[in-house]
Amino acid sequence: MRRLSLTNLTALALGLAFLYAPIVILVIYSFNASRLVTVWGGWSIRWYLALLDDSAMIAAALASLGVALASSALATVLGTMAALAMTRLGRFRGRLAFSAMIYAPLVMPEVITGLSLLLLFVAVGLDRGFSTVIIAHTTLTMCFVTVIVQSRLAGFDRSLEEAAMDLGCPPGRTFLTITLPLIMPAVIAGFLLAFSLSLDDLVIASFTTGPGATTLPIRIYSEVRLGVKPEINAICTILIAVVAIAVIAASLIGKSGGQGRTT
């Protein structure tokens, strides 16, 4: 049994403290009774109740949920297909260009992706609104799904698939009965990552949305620019809770078969 040295333990403790302290502080202050965000006035849920009256915020949150659901569902299907193409179809023509188009969006600065998609939508005369945001988010997040599913596909034993095919199982059915159940944890992880990326995105949504179509991050951003407000602490805490529950649930689901890597 290996033990962690004091240096390593310190590095871990400091690293995790740095990662979590700001989030914990934000959550605690969302329960602050005082309107002054820097003065502690006792525990209270008044800012959560205040959110219920903020119809614009609620509308933006619902819109964001819809956009995130639609785009992550699409991205999961397209991303899984791309992962299959990359790992199961050997060398097809255009494979290099394909892999370039999958990895580039992962690191491409969002301002560029956002601007270029907007110019496309204008060029083809598509009315901008939630539908264009969904297309934009699908494009970005499907690449993350591909990377996660691909690492899972590359990691498992292909002899199961080969055995099924040798016994005369058609490719489509082999995929549904053998491959898909095996890669399911990675597909779910990919879906959740796509969902949370979409729920989170400010820059690409700002470029590709149209008049009247406001997502939650756009709404939060316009409030945050004016300074810290306790209501914003409350909505942020709710978002953090939603994402944390989803991620922990996904990791419990994936525990049986191991997790796909996120990078």
Binding site: G15, R91, M101, V107, T138, I220, Y221, T263
Partner: protein
């Protein structure tokens, strides 16, 4: 059978394989659907950005003229070429603002990448050294903030860094300062925000490399009389280089174009190129100049992106 039975060919990837187009129609669909999606919504938009960046501002104000009128045939293509102009690039070259924005973005990205390596390496190293049963939990703890909203994480720092925020309260309670210090709207705040936001991107690939490190290599080095610090530099660090490279690029490239962190935490006197592009587009409504800014940014980043792709696809094939 052919598409799925190619394991042997994949193993000897150095051997040139003849191009083998997928045969069945379902295989074609699996390739074509995501392929066409990415061509339509990732590749083509770039060509449009390039085209708009070569348009004159007057004709390219939204809604701008058709990008290319193919119906007009040869004449249309001639008009298209005749309409190109380098005016927007001349604007970029003539105004110092753009040059300094690019320079500042590259500097900020380079400095924060170095800080990220220095901060991320000890964490990833400690994770990889931790007892095996702790590792999934530690991995989860590092990944979890990465899933929470970027915007929220940057916003959380405004709470802490503002003038009467927690940082100043803590420092004065400890008697370290008499006057509250200014943290917000400084470069320090930008660096804190960037390191905070991108730390998981650095730790994860580094951890993936370090975890694979075989202990027996270090034991062998020790048996042969190699001091521990030397074994660290000659064994551990070289083996961690692929992860280090991937992590550094995964941070450096997006930070160059970063908008949210400098906008919310930084001052208004110096801007990064992402903010400049945002202002050209949203405030000045000058789409052609914004496009030219984007094109130059892509040109600056194309090298690092190519290296990143190379590292990533090699990593997948070696697994």
């Amino acid at each position: 059978m052919v598409p799925l039975g190619r394991r042997a060919a994949d193993k000897v990837s150095a051997m040139p394989a003849p191009p083998q187009p997928p045969r069945s129609s379902s295989a074609k669909l699996v390739v074509l659907a995501p392929y066409l999606w990415l061509v339509a919504f990732f590749f083509v938009p770039f060509l449009i950005v390039l085209k708009i960046s070569l348009s004159q501002t007057a004709i390219a104000q939204p809604p701008y003229l058709p990008v290319l009128d193919l119906a007009a045939g040869w004449q249309g293509i001639k008009d298209f070429v005749a309409g190109l102009s380098l005016e927007n690039y001349a604007t970029l070259a003539s105004d110092d603002l753009y040059f300094f924005s690019y320079l500042r973005s590259l500097t900020v990205a380079a400095v924060s990448t170095v800080i990220l390596v220095l901060a991320g390496f000890p964490i990833a190293y400690a994770m990889a050294r931790a007892p095996r049963r702790w590792r999934p939990v530690l991995l989860m703890l590092v990944v979890l903030p990465f899933w929470t909203s970027f915007l929220i994480r940057v916003y959380a720092w405004i709470n802490i860094l503002q003038r009467d925020g927690l940082l100043n309260q803590t420092l004065s309670a400890l008697g370290l300062i008499d006057q509250p210090l200014t943290w917000l709207a400084t470069d320090t705040a930008i660096y804190i925000g960037l390191v905070y936001s991108y730390l998981p991107f650095m730790v994860l690939p580094l951890y993936a490399s370090l975890e694979k490190l075989d202990d027996s290599l270090l034991e062998a080095a020790a048996d042969l009389g190699c001091p521990r610090w030397k074994a660290f530099w000659t064994v551990t660090v070289p083996l961690a280089l692929p992860g280090l490279g991937a992590g550094a690029l995964l941070c450096f490239i997006p930070i160059v174009g970063e908008f949210v962190v400098p906008d919310l935490l930084g001052g208004s006197d110096t801007t990064m190129i992402g903010q400049t592009l945002w202002t050209e587009f949203f405030a000045n409504k000058d789409w052609p100049v914004a496009s030219a800014v984007a094109v130059v940014l892509v040109v600056l980043l194309v090298g690092p992106i190519a290296i990143y792709q190379h590292l990533q696809s090699r990593g997948v094939e070696n697994r």
